[in-house]
């Protein structure tokens, strides 16, 4: 053992509504007190929660100490037999082989080909809500974009969309093992059938399922169970994350009109602003398991402990970012870890950026004047913590920038 101090206990949990509603403040308090703290919640032996930038990075980079074999908290969040979702749940060196096979399918140039589709999805969503004068910008806009793109990418028919969203919500948000297990079973079942179907076709559709089905990992294609696990990983990673972040951005712009008006006046600033929003509103936490006794930030972590990396907490660490508690649209030095860091950096980073950028652009072009209609109805519990809704109001039909001010 090389650590010297015993971490103070906390009752921090990602399944506590009160804490979810003020998660950044909870992180601030924890970071100020002990950046590596022990919580007695969720698992029988609790878990360790990391809230500083430096220690978060160290843990994410030290893959020989902190394994990703369980990337969730609790370990069996998806129910028994559903904990293998490569490459998220793999460690080096096998992890690199997996990533190398997947990466070309998610490269920046490949993803750029989807830009027209993202615009189309965003515009269709806006057309459905613009004449109402108010809407939930999460379910009626942000979620339409993340779900619409994922369904397009995977060639899933539109009529399955509501069912998909239901399964995902059950798995990611419910915090109820029994419900999560049923939903996981349904999702794995659907994707298993989709793969079987494509294998039987001589000319399967040219979508992500087929691409990954045909990708070679160390000279061989993936067995079906691995492939389905990978597809589930990508889908889970693609939906709630983008929907939560885009919802947070729209809530921010609905309440910070100076930022809103600046992005309208300087649209070329949107990509830089998106990085700042990803820093400030990082919605995700990721879990690791200690392979052996370890020390992190001077704190002893026993072998087999679960460790929670909180990207939002790292990104609001005042030791890493000047004015960490402020959104600065044109922040020039911004080494945020909102997409994770190290070998498990978000695989879909390029698509996520495009969805957020186009999502902001299309909204501001159509609805430049908008504000919150009521308070945000709380924040989600679990591994992805974004606003449950984004109730906004605006002039019916949208209108033009500056008309109401």
């Amino acid at each position: 053992m090389s650590g010297q101090t015993k971490a103070p206990d906390t009752n921090f949990s990602i399944f506590d509504q009160e804490m979810a509603d003020k998660r950044p403040a909870v992180f601030d308090e924890l970071r100020g007190r002990c950046p590596v703290a022990h919580s007695d919640q969720i698992e029988d032996d609790g878990f360790w929660v990391v809230t500083s930038y430096t220690e978060t990075k160290s843990a994410a980079h030290d893959t020989s100490t902190f394994s990703s074999r369980y990337a969730t908290l609790p370990r069996d969040m998806f129910g028994e037999g559903h904990d293998h979702r490569p490459p998220l749940t793999l460690d080096p060196p096998i992890h690199q082989q997996f990533r190398r096979a997947l990466q070309p399918n998610f490269g920046p140039k490949v993803m750029q080909e989807w830009i027209p589709q993202i615009h189309e999805i965003a515009r269709a969503a806006i057309a459905n809500l613009i004449d109402k004068g108010s809407c939930d910008a999460r379910s009626e806009y942000a979620q339409r974009i993340s779900t619409g793109m994922m369904l397009a990418l995977f060639g899933v028919p539109d009529e399955i969309a509501p069912e998909f969203e239901h399964w995902l919500g059950e798995i990611v948000e419910s915090g109820d093992m029994a419900r999560a297990e049923i939903a996981s079973g349904a999702l794995y079942g659907y994707l298993g059938e989709a793969v079987t179907q494509r294998r039987s076709e001589s000319d399967p559709p040219d979508d992500m399922i087929t691409k990954l089905m045909n990708s070679e990992f160390d000279g061989a294609t993936l067995p079906d169970d691995e492939l389905v696990g990978t597809l589930v990983m990508i889908m889970l990673a693609a939906l709630e994350t983008v929907a939560s972040t885009l919802s947070s951005i729209l809530v921010h712009l609905a309440t910070n009109h100076a930022d809103r008006d600046r992005l309208i006046a300087e649209p070329e600033l949107v990509p830089t602003a998106v990085e700042e929003f990803v820093r400030y509103y990082s919605a995700v936490v990721s879990a690791r398991e200690a392979n052996h006794d370890a020390a992190l930030g001077g704190v002893d972590i026993p072998a087999d402990s679960m460790v929670l990396l909180c990207w939002n907490a790292a990104n609001r660490d005042p030791d890493a970012f000047p004015d960490a508690d402020k959104v600065i649209l044109d922040r020039t030095k911004n080494q945020h870890v909102g997409f994770g860091i190290g070998p498990h950096r978000c695989l879909g980073i390029h698509l996520a950026r495009l969805e957020l950028k186009v999502g902001v652009e299309e909204w501001l072009a159509a609805i430049p004047e908008f504000e919150l209609e009521s308070e945000v109805p709380g924040y989600q519990q679990g591994l992805v913590c974004g606003p449950k809704g984004a109730p906004v109001k605006f002039p019916k039909g949208g209108g033009v920038a500056g008309a109401a001010s």
Partner: protein
């Protein structure tokens, strides 16, 4: 001067592709930057190069004498 990528550290966040497209033209199949002219650039592009360095989450970039 030239932009130098520490490829043992780079994890392909592609912030350099956004900040410095004049020299970082794409990401390769390993998810790492593809550099124009082996990373060499003229003084008029220093600001963009510095932006790439300052925004790399893995601190994988540096500006060195060509």
């Amino acid at each position: 001067v030239k932009l130098v990528v520490d490829r043992s550290v780079c994890e392909g966040h592609a912030r350099c592709l956004m900040a410095f497209p004049e020299v970082v033209t794409d990401m390769d199949d390993l998810g790492q930057p593809v550099l124009e002219a082996d990373g060499e650039f003229g003084p008029e592009l220093t600001a963009h190069a510095q932006l790439a360095v300052d925004n790399c989450p893995e601190s994988a970039l540096s500006i060195e004498d060509a």
